[in-house]
């Protein structure tokens, strides 16, 4: 049996393929948009994965450390470490800042993690080159997206740090690449003021008779020492023992340490539902509109393609071809077009995804869903075209 659809496609294959490619680029944009949304959510998840924590202990009644500022003393980790069910507890600081690199600025999230032993929560989970931080000071591991290379010296606040290792997919919830420092360096970067501010602060202290009482010069010195101290962290990352229940450990910390604790599920909700909710919804809305527009364009293309062949269909009818055969031909062509479109779209989306400034995650499940949707849209669109083809008067083949 001769395949009518195949014959027709072969007849004008260039046009068919080009239409498919055009359609594919549109599907590619839609898939990319889905990837942008998934990437945004994945950035938030990556932040949680990378911290390797089961529990986040933060300043009381705050949504810290990612969604709200949080600050607690570094030694709060010690009583937590002693609690039942806690495997490890480590302080961590987060600070988003601009860092000069060459002649341009790079926006990074400076992460201060305890580097004393391997695999503590907060440390980079894997490296793509170089090594982990060994010296207690002035070494850094950067995400490859920062553009830093091993051996580069970057200035954070007043000190220079040597990049000793590179990692990947270590980003903040906003997609800013991370720069890992030792906790003490990061505390200095976060809490230590610049020299001018310190000098002015000293002058203010000296001018205040309560802080600098006449006859007791030691008081001002003590006040200055206190003001320049920095032993705070933004959060304490806690891992629990395999047999412990995160909710129970969290409840115990809340009760006995009187601090706010979030479990992984709660943290995910804070990040996804609160922190990136608006921008994610924005993207999701755009994705919905793009999907509707794509569907409409696919339908129009198939419809106009059929209308363009209306004379040939009339001839087919004239020579006695059955409506079912004609319908099948149109459906086959629509599905073929959809298939080419999907393949081109998937290829295009995969190829241009790495060039996006933020992470674009093309999930296989999204691709499958996209494929089903494209095929469904093509089928529905072909119904319109089939309707038009069936209504064609065979006389048009002669008269029209």
């Amino acid at each position: 049996m001769i395949s009518l659809a195949g014959r027709d496609i072969l007849h004008g294959w260039g046009k068919f393929v080009l239409t498919g490619v055009g359609l594919g680029l549109l599907i590619g944009v839609t898939l990319s948009m889905a990837g942008v949304y998934r990437g945004m959510v994945d950035d938030a998840q990556a932040l949680l994965d990378n911290s390797r924590a089961d529990l986040w202990v933060v300043q009381k009644d705050t949504l810290g450390p990612y969604a709200e500022p949080s600050s607690l003393t570094e030694d709060s980790e010690r009583p937590i470490q002693a609690m039942r069910g806690v495997a490890q507890a480590a302080g961590v600081t987060y600070l988003t800042m601009q860092i000069a690199h060459g002649d341009k600025d790079v926006r990074v999230m400076v992460v201060g993690a305890e580097m004393g032993e391997p695999g503590l929560p907060g440390q980079p989970t894997h490296l793509i080159s170089g090594r982990q931080i060994v010296r207690g000071h002035y070494e850094a591991v950067a995400d490859v997206k920062t553009g830093f290379a091993i051996g580069d010296r970057v200035k954070v606040r007043r000190n220079f740090y040597t990049i000793v290792g590179l990692t990947s997919r270590m980003v903040s919830s906003g997609g800013d690449p991370m720069l890992f420092l030792s906790l003490k360096d990061a505390q200095a970067a976060q809490f230590q003021k610049d020299s001018d501010a310190i000098v002015r602060q000293r002058a203010r202290t000296a001018a205040n008779p309560q802080l600098n009482p006449p006859g007791n010069p030691a008081v001002a010195q003590a006040v200055n020492a206190v003001q320049s101290g920095n032993s705070n962290v933004n959060a304490i990352l806690v891992t629990i023992t395999p047999d412990a229940d995160p909710d129970e450990v969290a409840a115990a910390i809340r009760r006995w340490q009187r601090l706010t604790v979030y479990t992984r599920a709660q943290m995910e909700e804070i990040l996804v539902q609160k922190l990136i909710a608006n921008s994610a919804r924005q993207i999701a809305m755009f994705l919905v509109i793009l999907s509707i527009v794509s569907a409409a364009i696919v339908a129009f293309i198939i419809y106009t393609m059929t209308i363009g062949k209306i004379r040939e269909i009339a001839v087919l009818k004239l020579i006695g071809t059955r409506n079912r055969t004609i319908s099948w031909m149109i459906l086959q062509q629509a599905l073929g077009l959809g298939l080419i479109g999907f393949i081109v779209g998937k290829i295009a989306a995969s190829l241009w995804a790495p060039f996006f400034p933020k992470y674009v995650l093309l999930l296989p499940s999204d691709s499958i869903l996209g494929f089903v949707a494209v095929m469904l849209i093509c089928t529905v669109a072909s119904f319109l075209a089939i309707q038009a083809a069936i209504k064609v008067d065979p006389a048009e083949a002669i008269g029209g």
Binding site: I128, P242, S367
Partner: protein, 393 residues
Amino acid sequence: MTLPFTMSRRGWTLLAVLAPLLLLFAWVAFRSGPLAPVNVTIAQVEERSIAPAMFGIGTVEARYTQKVGPTAAGRVTMVAVDVGDIVVAGQLLAQIDPIDLDQRIDAAAGGTARSAALEQAAVAQIADANARVVLARSVAARTEELKRGGWVTDAMVDQRRQELAAAQAGLAAAQANRSAATMDRGRLGAERSALVEQRANLRLVAPHAGLVVRRAVEPGTTVVAGQAVIETIDPSQLWINVRFDQTQSAGLAAGQQVRIALRSRPDAPLSGIIERVEPMADALTEEVLAKARFTITGGLPAIGELAEVTVALPAQARSLAIPNAAVHRIDGQVGVWVVRDGDLVFAPVRLGAQNLEGWVQVLHGLTRGEDIVIHSARALSASSRFSIVDALP
């Protein structure tokens, strides 16, 4: 050979377009995105000698600092030295206003002289009283004899006896007066000496030879007891007060050689030696404190300047070693990903010393020549598909 179906030239052309498209599709579906294998770099476990080292930071401090100030509140009248001056032991540094101290010394001297005069007067009184006693005694004796002859009455005898007792009491009083005057003279003399000492104490002098590093107040300023006016140090005795992270301070001991890089001259390291490891560690910052003595070359470094101190420990015997980038912690266990029979296996390891280049000793868990994953494009799991590459990214 004949195909079971015939294809036109157009068919072949279409196939030529679609086939690469399908191949490309298959490639992107399985080589990119979440399904793609994780690129890893591997290395063999090898033996090498690890020379562990410790890295700490500290500040330049003077071993001996003298803060010279008054022992009582006063106003500074004169400051004799300035920052940067070299002083010798006993050199006048500053002077505190004595206010009325000189007059009080004069008054004390006057008091002493008056006491001496009173003492002399008391001596004269004693002589007078003595004469009276002698006279009274002789009169009394004579009267007693006359009484025995019946020439005088008993009343007369009693009167003479009373006169003798009164003269003796007068002598005792005069002697007591002299003692009081002597004591008073001693007291006033001591008071004067004390004032003279105080006067000398208002001269602030250098307790040791050294360098003036701080001139805290200017003439005219009133200072309290114990407040520093001048600060001197011994410039030949500088050390670094260095702090090492407690987790990396195992093996730190006095006598170890160190390399010191001052912040002002990072490229010209100085050599030094750990003078002592402080018995008290900093509990809050979780650091061990030590003092590193060093030889000063090329000008005196600023006191308080930041310095990096590297302690190189002796190289250990050759043992298995891996880069620290390979070390991970999974489910509470420290280990490395090993490639065994084409599969990823997480091998728990026990680690030893680490050097500053990131090589860490493996005490247990690996054998020589095993392939371990060093770098990976993503965090690995036992079910990860992986593909070995030479370098990432």
